[in-house]
Symmetry: C2
Subunit: 149 residues, 2 copies
């Protein structure tokens, strides 16, 4: 989905829910609406800081939490606290994570519907959501490594 359209969509949702439209909030939503980067809180902070130098981490955390509670952003939580966010495709989908540069990309793959169906039928587990991550070395990092050898 187009970034601007997605931004408008998220802003409309916030307005609907009674949240006020502040410049900081708009800036945060804009960063989240771009899925490509799968930004971290730190990254969102740095980007917003470029426009509002006095913005605080608290504001970033509070807004990301609000938007997440509305289901408008997908949180990819990691145990080391390096969470990443996707506001462009806020529904479960596979990710490829480079363990070297930490880049997160969305591969083009079929969904896991077959496996989900099978699991539900066999175990009686009512599946609500899933998460599938592939860890490895991205093309770019493979090239860089080759240059050192």
């Amino acid at each position: 989905m187009d970034v601007n359209a997605r931004t408008d969509q998220m802003m409309a949702r916030l307005r609907e829910e009674g949240y006020k439209i502040t410049p900081q909030r708009i800036a945060i939503v804009k960063v989240l609406a771009e899925s490509k980067g799968h930004p971290s809180v730190e990254r969102i902070y740095e980007t917003v800081q470029g426009v509002f130098p006095t913005v605080s981490m608290a504001t970033i955390y509070r807004n990301v939490m609000i938007i997440k509670a509305l289901g408008e952003v997908l949180e990819l939580g990691f145990a080391d606290g390096s969470n990443r966010y996707d506001g462009n495709k806020p529904y479960p989908h596979p990710h490829m994570i480079c363990i070297n540069c930490k880049r997160v990309t969305d591969p083009e793959v079929g969904s896991l519907e077959d496996m989900t169906q099978t699991l539900s039928a066999e175990t009686g587990f009512q599946i609500i959501s899933h998460r599938l991550d592939f860890f490895g070395i991205c093309r770019s990092c493979q090239r860089k490594k080759a240059n050192f050898q």
Copy 2:
């Protein structure tokens, strides 16, 4: 794999690597060798405490880290800090996680080899590992919920 056999295997590995065999360490390994529960650090602590009342969290954390570094335990990290550990099957495999009781079980499913192959071929990403979690409500919790309605 049998729990005792797996315990011996892990202990042997620790000995090989030059680690000393302490009673606390043995107790921790025993808890990890049982995959069924996918225990948390807290759970390991409580269990070991049953035998060594003065054991400290620091000892649990240090030992789990050592065993993890040896690749003898799979860490299922969660952003909220509620990490779970599997020392019986310390390699990537799908998990089913009940969002109600937090129970973690291993479903019987085929691996993701096909998808992994396809992704590697299409994107050039060198896949080293993966993680697949299904979130939902387990049978037991579905029954309990039914009782309240």
